[in-house]
């Protein structure tokens, strides 16, 4: 992973924000990780270090939590975040084909975006479902995915 250059001021501000928002307690680990991810779109390593200092949990454990929960990520977001559900119910509605089509769609539009597979998005009754930049698309088709992704903006 590339080392991110973060200014001293940014670190200080981040530290202040943490102090204002979260108590110094282990129980704040997951809520504060959620908050960092909402702020930055991912969990930057420098932020995890400061977080560890503030809530008083060893950095190794903060890293452990950050890497075990599927909702949390250490990777900076791509231009588009796309996930196709390939759970049992979505498979019944042709999600495997849709996955291929969605991947092709991005290739055709010249976008280097990793289209992820997820095991379940818990909306099985409107399968197949695709998650595009945080928006859930039910009864998804190639056309709907095409419509939802703003290829111009990328």
């Amino acid at each position: 992973m590339d080392v991110e250059i973060v200014t001293k001021e940014a670190r200080l501000n981040f530290r202040k924000e943490l102090v204002n928002r979260f108590q110094r307690s282990r129980e704040q680990l997951l809520p504060s990780l959620h908050w960092v991810q909402e702020e930055y779109g991912y969990l930057p390593e420098w932020a995890l270090e400061i977080l560890s200092w503030h809530i008083g949990v060893p950095a190794s454990e903060v890293y452990g939590a950050a890497t075990t929960y599927p909702e949390l990520t250490l990777d900076a977001p791509q231009s588009h975040e796309v996930a196709v559900c390939t759970g049992l119910a979505c498979r019944e509605s042709g999600s495997q084909k849709l996955l291929g089509k969605t991947r092709n769609l991005f290739v055709r539009n010249g976008l280097n975006v990793v289209v992820n597979e997820v095991p379940c998005l818990f909306s099985c009754a409107v399968s197949p479902v695709v998650l595009i930049d945080g928006v859930l698309v039910g009864a998804a088709t190639e056309e709907l995915v095409d419509k939802e992704v703003d290829f111009e903006q990328a």
Binding site: T68, E71, L88, L121, S123
Partner: protein
């Protein structure tokens, strides 16, 4: 303050929140699933057309996801012709009112009997509440079906005051019932939790909501504030001596977090791993305090048991398993969605009458109970829906996920899929699950195309049985089930 004025206090709140908008209602059902198929667009278009003449309200979804987004109150789009079967064959007990009343309107909730259960509970002692729930025979609906009253009793008899933890993690593939309840009737979830807290002599409630269920989280949050404003949560609930606080907590995904001791670890900011038991959470759980962990569906039953009595609750289901169960129907069937049926009904009648399946030959099997369970062949569908194991072997009802597999789906591939899920979700704490679950997958994959699988199947059976027997928590103890149920139900048919 006396205990006996809780009912009067409720009536006072009710008169306080009355509104006098007499215009006709249009109800748009918006939930996370229906939003994904255009419910917000529908809402907008209805607002532009009717906001002058009608009262437009947003409700949760009634469960008929196959015909969503649904709008009621307008003559034309009131009822889809095929809806009738879907609703007619159900027994709506926990789901009553969902999709009909606005999710954020406490007045409407009170008008259908909301908070009556709480008021009744507060007018008697904690022990009497436990007795009433014990009479109803209500059991946990999260998959383990532990008697609710027993759990409360055990926690309330500890030395320190317990914590009530609402398990809304619902991270099992194929399940969407708790989310529907939280989106459609957040007040009922809160009411149930309040009664649980009163019965188990707790003053603190934590609600742990699945990370994916964002809409449910925000609706619970708003409803909670409304309850606090009206004195239903906080100091001296409904003018009684009972005080309680509620906090919401967002999860971050992971099937294993639905396991109660893992849930507690997550809340405490520890590793996402199960704990050794005993001690059980009712003795020592969150912050080493006695902890009552109840599922959302369980808690939604509680207010109804109190308001309409345990006899009404027992009128559904069987004598051993009274009440109803929510089933999340999906896969290859016409009417997919959330259905409520009494215990004791056969799977076949659910699939045919509610799910609308006409020809069983279109199916290769039905996956019941998610990845901790297995797949039933079509000739075994006349089994009854009951708590626990339903085929006498490895297929469990679990939390009530039902996925119909089309005849084009090979049950073997579906078995691999389920096993893969278990392997991926294993937290890695105990060896049998961490090493065994992936091994089951790799063995299944390696013999996918071989003609004689009997030797490998014997080894797999031993492995799966060992994983089940030696693992620490519910995930590992069921990780072998998809394969074992395949072995029981499908392997002979296919000549192995």
């Amino acid at each position: 303050m006396s205990k006996h004025n809780s009912l009067e206090k409720l009536a006072e709140i009710n008169s306080h929140v009355q509104v006098h908008d007499q215009r006709d209602r249009i109800v748009v059902q918006v939930g996370q699933c229906s939003a994904s198929i255009g419910a917000y667009d529908e809402l907008e278009s209805i607002k532009t057309k009717y906001s002058e003449t009608h009262r437009i309200e947003v409700a949760g979804c009634s469960g008929a996801c196959f015909s969503g987004p649904r709008v009621t109150g307008l003559d034309s789009s009131d009822i889809f012709s095929n809806d009738q079967d879907f609703f007619k064959s159900q027994t709506r007990y926990v789901l009553q009112g969902i999709g009909e009343i606005a999710w954020d309107d406490i007045r409407q909730y009170i008008s259908i009997g909301g908070f009556e259960g709480l008021a009744k509970a507060l007018s008697v002692t904690s022990e009497e509440v436990i007795d009433i729930v014990s009479d109803s025979g209500l059991r946990g609906r999260g998959g383990a079906y532990f008697p609710v009253a027993l759990k409360w009793k055990s926690a309330s008899s500890q030395r320190s005051a317990p914590v009530v933890l609402v398990n809304a993690e619902e991270g099992e593939p194929g399940l969407f019932k708790d989310r529907h309840l939280m989106e459609g009737m957040p007040f009922r979830v809160i009411e149930g939790a309040l009664i649980a807290a009163y019965a188990s002599k707790s003053e603190e409630i934590l609600i742990y909501v699945n990370a994916e269920a964002e809409l449910a989280y925000s609706r619970l949050n708003i409803s909670l504030q409304k309850c606090q404003d009206l004195g239903l949560v906080g100091k001296n609930v409904l003018g009684t001596d009972f005080s309680v606080s509620i906090r919401l907590f967002r999860g971050a995904g992971g099937y294993v977090c639905g396991e109660e001791s893992t849930l507690i670890n997550t809340l405490e900011g520890r590793r996402r791993e199960p704990r050794l038991r005993p001690p059980f959470p009712t003795e020592s759980g969150f912050r080493s305090l006695p902890t009552v962990v109840n599922n959302v569906e369980t808690l939604c039953n509680v207010p109804l048991v109190l308001s309409s009595g345990p006899e009404k609750f027992r009128s559904n289901g069987t004598s051993d398993a009274p009440g109803t169960k929510l089933l999340s129907l999906s896969g290859n069937m016409p009417y997919r969605g959330l259905a409520e049926v009494p215990f004791g009904i056969t799977l076949l009648s659910v699939l045919q009458d509610v799910g609308g399946i006409k020809d069983l030959n279109d199916l290769s099997g039905v996956a019941v109970g998610g990845p901790s369970s297995g797949i039933l062949p079509t000739h075994l569908l006349d089994l009854e829906i009951l708590p626990g194991i339903i085929d006498g072997k490895n297929v469990m009802l679990g939390a009530g996920g039902v996925v119909a597999l089309s005849k084009n789906t090979d049950p073997y591939e579906a078995t691999i899929h389920l096993s893969k899920y278990n392997a991926a979700e294993s937290c890695g704490k105990c060896t049998p699950c961490r090493e065994g679950a992936p091994k089951i997958v790799s063995m299944l994959e390696s013999i996918r195309n071989s003609s004689d699988r009997s030797d490998e199947f014997k080894r797999l059976e031993m492995l799966a049985t060992t994983v089940n027997a030696a693992s620490l928590c519910g995930l590992g103890q069921a990780a072998g089930n998809p394969f074992l149920s395949y072995l029981n139900h499908f392997s002979q048919e296919q000549g192995d």
